[in-house]
Amino acid sequence: MNSGGTNARIGYIAFNTFREAVRDRVLYNLIAFALLLSGAAILVGEISIDIERLVVVNLGLTAVSLFGVVIAIFIGIGLVSKEIDKRTLYTVLSRPVRRWEFVVGKFFGLTGTLVVNTFFMALGVFLALLYVAHKFEMMDVWVLVALYFIVLQFLIVCALALFFSSFSTPLMSAVFTFALFVVGSLAEDLRGFARITQGVGGWLATAIAYLVPNFSTLNVISQVAHGDAISGRLILYDSVYALLYSAMAISGAVLIFQRRNLK
């Protein structure tokens, strides 16, 4: 099995994961719901005189983020465990496919699904923006950056869901991943708490604060809603951070999955 074959196999697995996810009707319901929420943002924006744009961006991007995370967890936890439960994995791994190729292919497939979903949900947000403001402004570019950060969040959530599902049940994987998402969204507060705490407690708080994924740095919705610019340095830092964190979680998933007996 050469590296060219490896890339091809990862690509096939990713495409199949994407195809399966896109054809799943539950996914459509979630997208429809998110688009509905963007529509609701228009309604709320219209009764919020002078702050229509702020409300639409805030509500719209929050909807994209939350529904994206739900989709990421919903599909991510089932990626490995569902394949083991239904034994679809058996016929894949009895072919010249390495286990790590399967995990990485699944991750790319899910990421691709989420990028496409985000594109459609973002389209809803921009249509809502156009409806309330009647035109696009320069500062709307930052909405694109916020959407990029949301996709980075999805990368980490997908990787975590995959990591947990490589050794845990789907339900527990969902609970762990969502709990980490909630705690990670408060990462900056945790770091602040760690700075003012002394002794062993301070040590522990610092360890936890830096171990959990920092989703709060990836949340710039409020800033872009106010039309504030996002620095290039933050974009670079967050990109590198999200990629490294996802890579670590995927590596963990691979290490566990390589040794797992598929009973």
Binding site: R9, N16, R19, Y90, T91, V92, R98
Partner: protein, 317 residues
């Protein structure tokens, strides 16, 4: 060359709350399957058949021992491109059609040229050409089994592993699977299949192995097992009651309409024929009583648990 050489392959799981107790799923198994052979792996549910197949497929890892498949170590990645596998009660991706699924598996198997044509050929071979575009979630259990068979032989493997291939199939479906295995034999493929349906094994296999409680109880050639006489003959003749002379020879007889079916030892065969001549009764047939595969199977299952030299060597009838 041996297609499969299983060398003391062993699997046990840690059980209990603290994972302190070891439960054997497969005791050291030593078995050789020759190229071109159709081998039936027999045993009741939970005997260790699926565990053996999963070990050979690399789906679970052995506690000890190893195996060589087509002359290569079972962990060698090259092995996978030359083998096909049908898991027990297969289930596939709900939202793919049979054609899409086979194309996907073909891609993963490294098939490039002629893949589409081969997929259509396989769909026709398992009788699914008309349903090729239908999503698999709408397939019946029997149809999924056919898809499973198609994916197992799609890439023209030298060696095919089938786990309970007749499971869930109606009589017609079972017959089709039997025909397919016969075709594979004619193509020179090696087939290793597990089953607990003895008539299928008897009809298809060159050799069978009986496994029970994770332990190989015996291996033998089907032709030899079923040709072995038990020192008894079966005599069928026309009569409405059993002659007293035959009963005195120790025959076990039953009357069915105008016919009598009597079983007695080979030594009494001539004496029994004399009785029929004396009584002027019409002889229909006289055949040696052969052992059925079922009797062999039951006999092997009744062997008490424990190390047996015969089983460890993987030979012996």
């Amino acid at each position: 060359m041996a297609a499969i050489e299983i060398l003391d392959l062993e699997k046990s799981y840690l059980v209990g709350f603290w994972h302190k107790h070891r439960k054997p799923a497969l005791r050291p198994l030593r078995l050789t399957i020759e190229e071109g052979e159709v081998f039936g792996f027999l045993g009741p549910n939970g005997a260790g058949k699926t565990t053996t197949l999963k070990l050979l497929m690399g789906l679970v890892f052995p506690t000890a021992g190893t195996a060589r498949i087509l002359g290569m170590d079972m962990d060698d990645p090259r092995v996978k491109s030359q083998i096909g596998f049908l898991p027990e009660q297969p289930y596939f991706y709900d939202h793919l059609s049979a054609r899409e699924l086979l194309n996907y598996y073909g891609q993963l198997s490294g098939m490039a040229q002629g893949r589409s044509a081969r997929v259509e050929q396989m769909l026709a071979r398992v009788g699914l050409s008309d349903s090729a575009g239908v999503q698999l979630r709408k397939f019946s259990k029997g149809m999924l089994q056919r898809v499973g068979l198609a994916q197992a032989i799609l890439h023209d493997p030298k060696l095919v592993f089938l786990d309970e291939p007749m499971s869930g199939l109606d009589p017609m479906g079972r017959r089709e699977v039997r025909d397919l295995i016969q075709q594979l034999r004619h193509e020179g493929k090696t087939v290793f299949f597990s089953t607990h349906i003895l008539s299928d094994a008897e009809a298809l296999c060159d050799r069978v192995g009986v496994i029970h409680q994770g332990e190989l109880r015996g291996v033998g050639a089907v032709a030899e097992l079923t040709s072995a006489t038990q020192g008894k003959v079966e005599i069928i003749f026309c009569a409405q009651k059993v002659p007293a002379g035959l009963i005195s020879l120790g025959a076990e007889a039953r009357v069915s309409g105008d016919m009598v079916n009597a079983v007695l030892s080979e030594e009494q065969q001539d004496a029994a024929l004399d009785v029929l001549r004396r009584e002027r009764l019409k002889l229909i047939s006289l055949t040696p009583v052969r052992r059925s595969l079922e009797e062999y199977y039951v006999q092997k299952l009744q062997v008490p648990e424990g190390p047996k030299e015969e089983s460890r060597k993987g030979v012996g009838v």
